[in-house]
């Protein structure tokens, strides 16, 4: 079996003369066109040969009769994609040209011209819509950093890039086709030996980038899905970036308060761990823990004392994202105007904020960042916030 070699197309197929010349040069190196698509062109490795190639733009599938007539005149059908049909003939066959009338040949590009014009509008509008969605999703809630790191913004952003590239190449192709058409109308034949090497490197780089980005768009959601996890927080000691309720309360009578609403997977939503991965946040935990002390009442006698702690922990890919994420986390969680925020100086943290409604209120919020880590803790219970901070210091060191 002969070897098949795969290559990126040169400056796209639309530059007809260049592409024909490229196929010929490949054949002279022993690489014979086998089939082609918009992303890859496949060549079969064989003996070197001098072959002429011609690209025909046909809107309807050619009949067998038509192909037979081409063959009779020395042109073999090789491959097709879309409207583009490629025919070949040995260089020394003296086959007459497929087209002997440049004006008639220019008419064969009319419809392509229209299709490309329409595509420019379609892709242009799609790009604007996607870019608009990406922008709106990222900024609608004034939490751009948080959306950036944990949302699908990266994917949207990459999609915008792909659409931009699509629009750009459609415009470029349209210009190629229009130039060819104008030349043909003026009686200038397509140069079948046009130098194709110009721009080859740039095209290869751009194509590699676009293919990589497209692959990323496909893979990121899969990786995110595979890596995400949710389970009930074990009661024993765990290696997680949290402060345990037991360490805060230090009360031997503290017991776990199990949620009534177990779901089908048997996860206790009062005591659960959710792990997520995104490209910009390789480690993200949302962990809840709830307890109850039998026989002990809340100070306002509203019921049995049942402290709880909720932790959101972000380990960011880049340290310089930490300030933005911290700011957005506070914006997201401090919706109540009665909250009073105090900035606390502590050498162990880059930033440390404590938020309380009033000193008598049982809910305390802590926001902190150090290195590339950001943490948000919501504690509901009687213990002073200083104790939680000292426990948090151990984690930050």
């Amino acid at each position: 079996m002969s070897k098949v070699v795969r290559k990126f197309p040169i400056d796209d197929f639309w530059n007809i003369g260049k592409t024909e010349s490229w196929f010929s040069d490949m054949a002279s190196q022993g690489l014979h066109l086998k089939k082609f698509g918009w992303t890859f062109v496949y060549f079969e490795k064989d003996k070197k040969a001098n072959t002429k190639y011609r690209i025909e733009v046909l809107y309807d599938k050619p009949s067998q009769e038509q192909l037979d007539v081409y063959k009779e005149y020395g042109w073999d059908f090789v491959a097709k994609t879309g409207f583009f049909y490629v025919f070949s003939s040995p260089q020394d066959s003296n086959a007459p040209e497929l087209h002997t009338d440049t004006i008639e040949q220019s008419f064969t590009l009319d419809e392509l011209d229209r299709v490309l014009k329409r595509n420019i509008i379609v892709f242009g509008v799609a790009t604007l819509i996607i870019a608009g969605i990406a922008f709106a999703l990222n900024f609608y809630d004034d939490e751009p950093c948080l959306n950036l790191v944990e949302g699908n913004f990266i994917i949207l952003f990459f999609q915008v890039l792909v659409y931009l590239h699509l629009t750009y190449s459609t415009i470029r192709n349209y210009l190629y086709v229009r130039n060819i058409k104008n030349s043909l109308i003026n009686g200038i034949e397509i140069n079948h030996n046009e130098d194709w090497k110009k721009g080859r490197l740039v095209t290869t780089i751009v194509n590699t980038l676009v293919v990589t980005i497209a692959a990323i768009i496909v893979f990121i959601p899969i990786v995110e899905r595979v890596k995400s996890d949710e389970y009930t927080l074990p009661e024993m000691e765990v290696n997680l970036p949290i402060i345990r309720l037991a360490d805060i309360e230090e009360n031997p009578n503290l017991q776990r308060e199990v949620s009534y609403s177990y779901n089908g997977e048997g996860i206790d939503y009062n005591n659960n761990v959710r792990f997520e991965w995104t490209p910009l946040v390789p480690t993200k935990y949302r962990i809840s823990e709830s307890g109850i002390v039998e026989g002990m009442m809340w100070s306002d006698n509203s019921g049995e004392y049942s402290p709880s702690i909720h932790t959101e922990f972000y380990q960011l890919r880049f340290q310089n994202m930490a300030d933005g994420v911290l700011k957005d986390l506070m914006h997201k969680n401090l919706y109540d105007p009665r909250y009073k925020t105090a900035k606390i100086k502590n050498p162990n943290f880059h930033h440390l904020y404590v938020v309380e409604k009033s000193t008598s209120e049982a809910t305390k919020l802590i926001f902190a960042s150090w290195d590339n880590n950001v943490i948000y803790i919501r504690y509901h219970g009687n213990i002073e916030v200083d104790k939680i901070i000292s426990l948090l210091e151990n984690m930050a060191i």
Partner: protein
């Protein structure tokens, strides 16, 4: 996109002319070569390009398609377009008659 008059390409003119008698692709090319006494040799790409276009413009129709090959014929519209073009060309020749005489003058002197 209907044909709106005006000069025809050489390919279009000869194909319409050849289709005064219904004919099929390959034979058409030979016919045109004969009619033009070898002056017009048409590439197959041009032939099928024109056939497709003329069909869309309703100047020709497929009168028979046995699956193996299609037989084309000129339509009434095609005939009148061809006649008009013939008249235009005739007028052009008429208008240029001075060239012919001038040519003869040159030869006689």
């Amino acid at each position: 996109m209907a044909y709106s008059g005006g000069p025809m390409t050489e390919a279009m003119y000869y194909i319409l002319l050849a289709l005064m008698n219904p004919n099929y692709g390959y034979q058409l090319m030979n016919e045109i070569e004969q009619v033009s006494k070898g002056r017009v040799i048409m590439g197959p790409g041009t032939l099928y390009g024109v056939l497709t276009r003329l069909q869309k413009e309703r100047l020709i129709v497929v009168v028979n398609d046995d699956g193996r090959r299609k037989t084309y014929a000129i339509t009434q519209e095609g005939k009148s377009a061809l006649k008009e073009e013939y008249k235009r060309l005739e007028n052009m020749i008429q208008d240029g008659i001075i060239l012919k005489e001038g040519n003869e003058d040159e030869q006689s002197s």
